[in-house]
Symmetry: D2
Subunit: 233 residues, 4 copies
């Protein structure tokens, strides 16, 4: 059972906005005319050029806002390390976990013994949380006893340039499975909304044909389908 | 003659996106349900609360992209100092100024003698630029002789939180007239698109009832209309 | 038992660096001469002017690096939300908690019953973690069962402007006690290193004489000593 | 005659600070002990690993502050586009150019005719500026007639990660000669201060053995000496 992600808003005509910004840098046109003056072929051409030259700054003008539920706080802690992004996260200080749920890693659920242990520990943590609250301990303090895998919800916004950066790091097989799953869902939604901006996106093995990791996995991705297939659930 | 500004794209339903993000922080709802579940009154209520408590981070989820033409490079130099923003600017390295135009400050145009001097100097700078290019000097070097007031065009994106910050600094009477004019036009367009997010916006004298400047102008703004009326052209 | 913090490095002569940068903006001097040319009185004068006018950008030139141990991951999750900062955090993916320790909130330790419950739950979480690892579960997954209050260590760098922002938010009585304690220790160390840059620093009730919180605590701080005394341990 | 640059401050023991932060991520040590516990060999080893794996975030903990004089405002406009940096720039609003100087590009000074034209145009711009001021035009407006090549001074701070990024873009032969010269001087000073952090640094042709430019220069750099020799003056 993994997190659920939806794309709740994004810049309209994102590919055209990006292409207009790119064209402005190199043309004597007026900025305000560019947007209406670009046809689909021109948009596509500009985006290809930008991608191949690695000039990604115009991609910043298109912005995407996602909602994520059922993510662990382990992973939200990784996620909010991305600094060129905006986050609104459900507060454990103000919102009572009721009942406190948590993410069970696939490696745990794959073992009967591990899963039983995990489940039982979750239950006792939930009971301890409830008991602490009934003893008058503030929610913000009782949560110290909740597991790090406890559920959280976020709304997050990244621009298309940062999304590419995020996908390049978090769709690598070296990333942990949960943030990889989140990134995969965000990529699938981004592709639906603006394929021209995100095809291709992913780790350097796919987009640059090479791996930068000190200890790589040894298996280069050859397509976005392959990336997305590994993280489907 | 001042710069022309248009709003070429922005996050759809920006007030609702911001209110959903704000609500998520304090409610046990699922992130993906919030967006559809908020009615206009609730949106308005959440925005008021955020504003009054100075909790502006949810404003980051709404993003606005503007095109500006006829701005001077004096002012674009000030503008790009805002670091939480994205800029695509017409390049003087690749685009030939043809003919090179420039912004004449109102204080100059108000004096016959100053205006004549300015005009004549503009003409001789334009001629020198053309002559340097005809001598084989690259555009990127010939531009060193163009006036700092030379025209430029930009496409820029800021989120609503940064726009508030921008308006608070650049609509102050201590800001220079040209960037004040740009900010005023951006504010007018932002109000049309999402009044709930930007009413009020402006310098601290308006939004907080006090001036922070070491040497203030001594005249507090009392309404956004007053701010906008001073910069209309 | 609260976190331990040390200041491991900072820009030498930080007040003089900041004052030089400030002076450059308003003087015809050469940038490279300013630094040596300012005496202590001039430094002090420039800093006072900057502070009173709210022109804090020169404060960015002085940078401070802290090491923190014994912090909970609840609080490190709050801490890394500050985006104008650099963090290096001990990884739960690569480093085995051995034995897994955690922060017990003062509200919990103040109650015999709550403390006993908390301790017992900590022990069983630690045992579950060890058991999962012995079952072959990777560290990065076993940690999902560790409490959110589990210990972590970080090295973090902020410039003096961001430190002021951090102190204004996190020394407020509305901030949670643990990050308030961290901020208090960082402030005490910053004051030792560069009193001129940080006296005063703290929430708006101290620095601006007013509270911005929707639900304030009702008791304005009147001195930094008062702030620091409340968080001493 | 090109700009003059000096390094006025930097984080003490920058290589050790970076290596400590890197080590913390992967070791069970306490953060506060790491700094003193690393010998020179260990520092060197950690830095090599980080570099080869492209894990540059610990480089953010070391910060460098430069003073630059005699730079053109053409180039300061390019420079301040780097957003992960801090700038304090001499203000043309408050500081009177006296006399107004400017940078003459080498392509101009290489041609007697171009140089004469440029000089004469500079003189007439300076006279127009002085005349406008004597007519009562504010400095901030009179500067619109100064050439874009007019002199400016800045104090700027970047951390070592951003410096690497800056060097990778601005030491490329596709960058304009003036900012390349600035970057070269900054690199030479950074190498003196902390060779372990900056050897190698430069465009991708040097550091990754490949060019990403759409229209590259076709001549890969093979050493930092080669990079620095081309920009010496």
């Amino acid at each position: 059972m993994s997190c659920e992600v939806s794309l709740i808003a994004y810049t309209p005509s994102p590919a055209r906005v990006v292409a207009s910004a790119a064209k402005l840098c190199y043309s004597p046109s007026r900025a305000s005319c560019l947007f209406d003056g670009l046809d689909a072929g021109a948009v596509s051409g500009f985006l290809k050029k930008l991608r191949s030259a690695g000039h990604l700054s115009p991609f910043e003008h298109a912005s995407f806002t996602f909602a994520a539920d059922g993510l662990s706080r382990v992973t939200s802690h990784q996620l909010v390390r991305h600094r060129v992004a905006s986050f609104s996260q459900q507060s454990q200080r103000y919102v009572r976990a009721n009942p406190p749920g948590a993410v069970m890693p696939p490696s745990v659920s794959a073992s009967l013994e591990a899963a039983a242990l995990f489940e039982s520990q979750l239950r006792s943590a939930a009971e301890a949380y409830e008991r602490l609250i009934s003893l008058g301990i503030p929610k913000e303090d009782a949560r110290f006893i909740l597991p790090h895998g406890a559920h959280t919800s976020l709304i997050l916004t990244m621009n298309a340039r940062e999304l590419h950066h995020f996908f390049s790091l978090r769709l690598c097989r070296r990333a942990q499975w949960e943030i990889r799953g989140l990134a995969g869902k965000m990529l699938a939604l981004s592709l639906e909304a603006a394929r021209e901006l995100f095809d291709p996106a992913g780790p350097p093995c796919l987009t640059e044909g090479r791996c930068r990791e000190a200890e790589g996995c040894g298996r280069l991705f050859s397509s976005m389908e392959e990336i997305l297939s590994e993280i489907d659930d």
